[in-house]
Symmetry: C2
Subunit: 333 residues, 2 copies
């Protein structure tokens, strides 16, 4: 197996985040399910945006957030995702490259605008996402650079890719190339409603070994196995995948492998501002621990550290140097 050029290559929906503070009344007035990610069409996007307060914008997208987090720790990273060559696509492209991530996916010249997500942050810090996929729908298997995938130790895929049909095909193609090159494939289940839409397919990916590592939060795990019994779900997860990592908000995370289960506490925070990106950044820290062969315990602590950074400000991209934070906390870098 050739030496890898990248530690982690991520594939995900390229989404520009439009973040706004809102009260619970806004959510109910628009029929939104708090804490979830709903796919919306252009008409609904316009209706929500018209009613929203002044916003803050920044690049987002679950998988991309994780990759940017990994780059922030010092990992060598690449990302595949689809924007349009419009103004927002230009901002998106700048931001991910400026974070040190190799990003060469060709922007769409026609078709829908760069995707965006209207993210309502309620006073309790919870975020509720409404995503217009836009150009992200047009990610196809042709966008998968086989050489780049084969040259990456890990391929990290988001469950949200299962929404656009051709992106799903791109996902499967990338996983095949990675395994053909002796690499490993990670999947995040993304969202409990996403799991609800694709439960059988996700289980199939796990049981057939299309993916080797699975990230989930408690709600996603419960949705996957249709149970509220955490221990029972965890037991099934251990049977279905080589490595399962389950985040439990302020209760920390558990890392489940064939050998056993390791629990790691959450990192203390001063003030919860916005949970957007919490899971994405946890995955960044954890994957970084794997990349550095730091062991599950340290990987879990790196994940907790990155999640703690991102939930203490608005937006899903880190504002502090994760590398410096890790150093300061005596964690591997």
């Amino acid at each position: 197996m050739a030496d890898a050029k990248y530690d982690v290559l991520g594939i995900g929906n390229a989404i520009f985040d439009v973040l706004v503070q809102a009260d619970d009344g806004f959510l109910s007035r628009h029929g939104m399910t708090k804490g979830g990610m709903a796919l919306i069409d252009e008409a609904r996007a316009a209706a929500i945006y018209k009613d929203m307060g002044p916003a803050t914008e920044m690049s987002g997208g679950s998988g991309a957030n994780t990759i940017v987090g990994l780059a922030g720790f010092g990992a060598r990273t690449a990302f595949i995702g689809k924007v349009k060559n419009d103004q927002i696509g230009g901002l998106y492209t700048h931001d991910i490259r400026a974070a040190g991530v190799a990003f060469e996916t060709r922007a769409a010249a026609a078709g829908p605008a760069t995707g965006c997500s209207y993210i309502l942050v309620t006073p309790d810090g919870e975020r509720t996402m409404n995503t217009y996929l836009g150009a992200a729908q047009d990610l196809t298997p042709d966008d998968i650079d086989a050489e780049q995938v084969a040259a990456s130790d890990y391929v990290y895929l988001e469950g949200y890719l299962w929404d656009p049909q051709s992106a799903k095909e791109a996902f499967v193609k990338a996983a095949g190339i990675a395994h053909g090159a002796g690499r490993q494939v990670a999947l995040t289940l993304s969202d409990s409603f996403c799991v609800g839409r694709y439960r059988d397919e996700f289980l199939d990916l796990m049981r057939k070994g299309t993916v080797d590592l699975v990230f989930a939060n408690e709600a996603e795990l419960g949705s996957l196995y249709e149970t509220s019994d955490f221990d029972a779900a965890l037991k099934q997860l251990r049977a279905d995948t080589r490595l399962g990592i389950v985040t439990r908000s302020e209760k920390g995370c558990v890392v489940a492998s064939k050998d056993g289960v390791v629990a790691v506490p959450a990192f203390p925070i001063q003030k919860l501002v916005d949970t957007t990106g919490a899971g994405d950044l946890f995955a960044a820290g954890f994957m970084f621990g794997l990349v550095r062969n730091a062991g599950f315990e340290a990987a879990g602590r790196l994940g907790a550290l990155a999640a703690a950074e991102v939930i203490q400000h608005i937006g899903a991209r880190p504002q502090a140097s994760l590398k410096e934070l890790a150093k300061k906390n005596g964690l591997p870098v």
Copy 2:
């Protein structure tokens, strides 16, 4: 004099802010003067952006920030400024309207893109701005809605309007309409380099009574009178304008009228994050005090409160309700 429909109407360059954390080395590498606002052309904008880290975006523009702050306190406000009908112009238009500001200036259908400012925030919290005026250059006297101006108790103008030639003409037209309707005109000097460019013209505006109120910070005041002697400059300011309001960062502000000078302390903060918008939000609070006839002391405290809010997070638009903050601090709303 008819009852006013608006408390304050602002006219300014409509600018989208692209904020990024940078170190002092970045500033010197690009030949930037720390703390200032430099006008840049498209080529330099591209060069700076290419070298910048991942950014956070939000609507900005000095005068618009002040008007949005005023709306946040509960004032009735309107804004005149020029964007293009591109994606960023759409974000800009949404944000200012969503803040409760009447904004009806027709977006440019052709010509340069919506203006933006690359704002480098250094670890000391200082901001250094590089502004590509873009569509803001095309604000003309035709964009001044005479009826709207005449129906506003105060017209608030930014000194930056002196940069684009036709905006300057729009400025003078608006001031004339306001005075014809028995209204008052406020000017912020904007930036010490801007004062350097237009010193004689600004003094002329003050001495001829084209403007009634002048906002400045210490550096701008020093540049206006080409002196580092604060007391001497303040004395000249009192002679040249009916009401002069000078901000002095952590030393608070002084309000200078023919009757005397009132000093108001700064509002205590926990942590300085980003000074972007400090002067703009001070002016918002102060103008709100005038609108409510609260007296100079209370107006100064309202200004200090709004400035303190905006410098404790990234970006020049308030993230908390200024009305609630004022209530909580026993100030008039």
